[in-house]
Amino acid sequence: MEPGLYQLLFISAALFFIGVYGFFTRRNLITMLMSVELVLNSVNLNFIAFNKYLWPGRMDGLFFTIFVIAIAAAEAAVAIAIIINLYRSHQSIDVENAEELKY
C-alpha cells in the first residue's frame, strides 16, 4: 500500500491513543509527562500531514507545529520544576501521595 495521508493519520491517531492509555494507567508524574509528550507529538504529525497533502500552497500547519513545539518545551520545563519541588516536599512523585495542593 502506497503511504499517503490516511497512513499518516493512522499513525498519528494510534500515537495519540497510546499517549492517552499511558496517561490513564501511569501513576508517576514523570511517566505521565512522557505520555503527554506523545500526545503532543501525534498532534504535530497530524498538522504536518494535512499541510503536506491537503494545503501544500500554504504553510499554516508548519507554523502551528513550530508554535506547538515551543509551547510544549515551556510546558515540560514548568512541569519538571513542579515535579522537583513536589519531590522535595513529599519525597515522592506518585500522584496518589500528592493529595493536598498546598503544603
Binding site: 499513525i11 508517576n28 514523570i30 512522557m34 500531514a49 500552497g57 513550530i66 515540560a76 519538571i80 520544576a81
Partner: protein, 185 residues
C-alpha cells in the same frame, strides 16, 4: 515496493512500537529511552515528508532538550534500579478497552471521510520561505504569534526558576543544621 514505502513503514513501526513500550515498561529509565526512539521515529517521518526544518527542530528541541530534561529529573527523583509499582489489572483493562474503542471510532470516521486537496501551487518549505512568513507583518504573516511565544518562553523560564528555587528560610535551616552537625562532631 519502492524504497520510500519501505522506509515509511519502518519509521512507522519504530514510532508505534517504541511508543507502546514507553507507556507499558515498568522501568522508568527505559520508558524515557523508548520515548527518545519514538520521537526520533517521528523526526524521520518529517524527513520522509520533506519537511527538513521541522525534523531538525524536532530533533533539537525534543530529542536534545525535553528528553534530556526528563532523564535529569529521573536521576534527581528516582532510586536506581527501582521498578514502578504494578498497576491494578482492572484499571489497565478498562483503560485499554476505552482507548481501543475510541481509536476504532476515530479510524471508522476517518476512512468514511473523503478529503479534498486544494489545487494551489505547492510552496516548498525551505528555511528562507519559513523565515519570510514567520517575520512578516502582512496578511498571513506570523510576527505577532512569534512575539507572543517569545514572551511565553521568557515567562516559563522565570517561572521555572522561581518554582524550583529553594526557599531562603529552608537554606538557613539547612545551614544551621549543618553547623550543629559540625559542632556535634
Amino acid at each position: 515496493m519502492k524504497g520510500a514505502t519501505i522506509i515509511f513503514y519502518l519509521l512507522a513501526t519504530l514510532t508505534l512500537v517504541c511508543g507502546v513500550l514507553s507507556v507499558t515498561t515498568r522501568q522508568i529509565f527505559r520508558a524515557a529511552i523508548y520515548l527518545l526512539f519514538s520521537l526520533i521515529g517521528i523526526a524521520g517521518l518529517y524527513f520522509w515528508m520533506d519537511y527538513q526544518f521541522i525534523a531538525a527542530v524536532q530533533i533539537v528541541v525534543y530529542v536534545g532538550g525535553i528528553v534530556v530534561l526528563i532523564i535529569f529529573s529521573i536521576f534527581l527523583t528516582q532510586q536506581a534500579g527501582e521498578k514502578l509499582p504494578k498497576q491494578r489489572i482492572d484499571r489497565k483493562i478498562f483503560s485499554a478497552l476505552a482507548v481501543f474503542c475510541a481509536f476504532a471510532l476515530t479510524m471508522l470516521q476517518l476512512y468514511q471521510h473523503t478529503f479534498y486537496e486544494t489545487a494551489d501551487e505547492p510552496v516548498p518549505a525551505t528555511v528562507a520561505n519559513i523565515g519570510n512568513r514567520m517575520l512578516s507583518v502582512k496578511e498571513g504573516g506570523y510576527a505577532l504569534p512569534f512575539e507572543v511565544v517569545s514572551i511565553l518562553l521568557l515567562a516559563a523560564l522565570i517561572g521555572c526558576i522561581v518554582i524550583a528555587m529553594r526557599d531562603k528560610t529552608m537554606n538557613i535551616e539547612q545551614g544551621t543544621l549543618n553547623k550543629e552537625v559540625e559542632k556535634g562532631k
